[in-house]
Amino acid sequence: MSERKNPATGHDTGHVWDDNLRELTNQPPRWWMICLYLSALFLVVYFILYPTFPLISGSSKGVLGWTQMKRLNESVADIQAVRAPFENRLVGMSAEAILANPELANYAVRSAKVVFGDRCAPCHGTGGAGNPGYPVLADDDWLYGGSVASIEQSIADGRAGMMPAFAAMLNEQQLDALSQYTLALSKGEGRADGQALFASQGCGGCHGADGKGMPMLGAANLTDAVWRFAPGTVESIKYTISNGVNAPGHEGTRSATMPDFKNQLSATEIKKLAVYVHKLGGGQ
């Protein structure tokens, strides 16, 4: 660079090292000084415009009145504006109608995914994979019916299973026979002794004479390959028959209770969830 801008003849600070290296007291370049003054000016302007300085009763406010909460609310309003056209259409629609409209169903699935993760997945698992004691939602076996309306009702009002405990009414041998029969049902086979017990104990009253269950009552279909209380072994079945489900006053009874969500989620959210669950893999 040009010599004249940086004369080596200027004063030095007196520091000399390595024989001849001197520290000069030249002015910094003008552009550098301008940047320094500009950054000082920026600081002043920023101080005036934005919250900057801690005071006893909170920070200084700044003339723009900017706060992080306002910024957050703006962002929330932005995302709501994007969703509004869809959300407004969903308000007056039934879950069936949403399901029938591919565009809206797609929107419902995408936006309900988060809600499902927050509210449903803790019990039913991500993607409705199910957990021990909690039904799989991705299969096509539904205790209370697999239509989107039934699912919507299950979410809104909750569900509670009910089955009496038979431990006091049946002896060990009878329990074994009934358990064996139930297992055979799921394989499409029959057993005479069990079938007689099944009829005499009134199992068909809830599970149906053919054992295919009753969605009205939430009674499980005993003839399919899906078990409400896995695994589908004789021991497991026997335990359920002995101790029942939500049997009042019976210690060790199976617990099957789903809370209602109508007070925690909006009607639209419940509809979207119903569509989401319906599309997990087994909606009917």
């Binding site: 660079m1 040009s2 010599e3 004249r4 698992g125 991500t126 993607g127 409705g128 994979a129 199910g130 799989v136 991705a138 299969d139 096509d140 076996d141 279909n221 399919d224 390959a225 899906v226 599309k279 893999g281 087994g282």
Partner: protein
């Protein structure tokens, strides 16, 4: 010895010598006002500069109902005539960059900084800007005087006109740049009605500012201090690269030519120290020192020197395109026996082959399949195993496609969830969920490769396949 015919133009030469006081080697402290001289390389330069006309005119070409070359960033599509390139094909961009880099290396190893001297926008724009300057302000000497003179009258008028012209070119440059990224005609309409989008205005502003600054004010300083290629290209040059070179064997010892000096002095070389090579140099260097980082190999000093050689009736080529070996009298090697050149060439060829392959096999359809992992599989009421897949189908064609999905991999495989054909809009990715089912008793293994296939119903030759896995429960004993 008979009196040799003295150069007819000696009077002119003396004028040139008076000028030499003015021509100094560039040290960066002073504005360079290079002299313009006609000649062979000057003509080449005009010719190569024309390449940049395509930068200004290209956006106005049409192809069907759209711009022929359009880099549609918001739409995530590049259109180059009949070819449409989507982000999924962007690996080709890497090859294009590789090809460009190697082309630069290849050419540089052969003939030095050809790009810098003849094609670079910095060189070209600076040349145009200084042409305007010369037209308005006169010769380099006049320009230097004008710079010294006080700010009034004619100087003010001339300078204002010059800077306005520079700015006008800069603005056109900026607008032309943006025109490659949006419909050029609509964009002009937006600019004229002041309704262009903010990124467009910003781009124009930035391009205008830097064109004006770089070509108008910084000029050769950009090559010296800013441009990385000046440094990179230096390492691609070797003793066999042909470069503008001063033939020192012929030129030295140099000396001013005076009446009769050539006959009397005897030992004097062909260089008459007229400093015309420095005068015309756009970066203000002295080529007689040897090849150096400031030389952009534009060849203008060759023109200047040849013109002088004509005047003093000596052969051309005291400064010429020659390799260092050639000038030093070392036998030169053929181009194809230089490993450096061959390596550059074959990498270049390989990247070109990749681009050609990419362009010729641009499929209309792309399929990706994501297997659902939560849950990995589900047992259905009837005991069959169900797996869930998300198909991502990219339609790269210009028409909507009506898709048909099928699956293979197991004799009892059942595809569920797609009751009818569905449509993937053109240029879009469609996501669709499908289920595959296999009766539990028929599934012998824990996992099984399956192939999903989508096919355009209307054009059966357009299809795509993707291999995924089918999962089942752990095999029971």
């Amino acid at each position: 010895m008979s009196e040799p015919s003295e150069p007819a133009d000696l009077k002119h030469l003396e004028e040139l010598y008076r000028e030499t006081e003015y021509w100094h080697v560039n040290t960066g402290g002073k504005t360079i006002h290079a002299k313009r001289m006609p000649g062979r390389y000057r003509s080449y330069k005009w010719f190569t500069m024309l390449v940049w006309l395509s930068f200004f005119l290209g956006p106005y070409l049409r192809w069907g109902d759209r711009q022929a070359i359009l880099f549609d960033i918001p739409g995530r599509q590049f259109h180059i005539f009949s070819v449409t390139i989507l982000p999924q094909d962007v690996w080709m961009l890497a090859l294009v960059l590789l090809f460009s880099a190697l082309l630069l290396a290849f050419v540089t190893s052969l003939a030095g900084r050809v790009y810098c001297g003849y094609f670079c926008f910095q060189t070209v724009w600076t040349d145009i800007f200084t042409l305007i300057e010369q037209t308005l302000e006169g010769s380099p000497v006049q320009r230097a005087k004008l710079d010294q003179s006080p700010w009034r009258g004619r100087k003010l008028a001339v300078k204002v006109v010059k800077h306005l012209l520079w700015l006008a070119i800069s603005v056109i440059t900026g607008i032309s740049f943006t025109a490659w990224f949006g419909d050029a005609y609509l964009l002009w309409e937006d600019y004229v009605t002041l309704q262009a989008p903010t990124p467009a205005w910003l781009s124009v502003l930035v391009f205008t500012g830097f064109t004006y600054l770089f070509a108008g004010h910084m000029r050769e300083q950009v090559c010296f201090w800013l441009c990385p290629y000046a440094r990179i290209q230096g390492v691609m040059v070797d003793r066999e690269t042909i470069l503008p070179t001063y033939d020192f064997a012929r030129g030295e010892p140099r000396g001013k030519l005076k009446k009769g000096s050539r006959t009397e002095g005897g030992g004097q070389g062909d260089c008459i120290d007229c400093r015309q090579c420095i005068a015309v140099c756009p970066t203000g260097i002295d080529i007689r020192v040897g090849q150096q980082e400031g030389c952009i190999t534009c060849g203008l000093c060759l023109d200047a020197c040849d013109a002088i050689m004509d005047k003093i009736q000596r052969p051309h080529g005291l400064i010429r395109y020659a390799s260092l070996d050639e000038v030093e009298g070392i036998p030169t090697v053929g181009v194809w026996r230089r490993p450096r050149v061959l390596v550059y060439f074959f990498i270049m060829l390989a990247s070109l082959a990749g681009i050609v392959y990419g362009l010729t096999t641009l499929g209309a359809l792309e399929l990706k399949v994501l297997h659902e992992r939560q849950p990995l599989f589900v047992i259905q009421s009837d005991g069959s195993i169900q797996n869930k897949y998300e198909l991502k189908i990219l339609n790269k064609s210009n028409d909507d496609m009506h898709m048909r999905v099928s699956a293979s991999g197991h004799p009892a495989l059942l595809l569920v969830g797609v009751d009818q054909d569905f449509t993937v809009p053109r240029g879009r990715v469609g996501a669709y969920t499908v289920f595959l089912r296999i009766p539990g008793a028929r599934l012998a293994t824990e996992r099984l490769p399956v192939t999903l296939r989508v096919q355009d119903r209307d054009h059966v030759q357009i299809f795509a396949e993707y291999q995924s896995m089918f999962f089942g429960p752990e095999s029971r004993p």
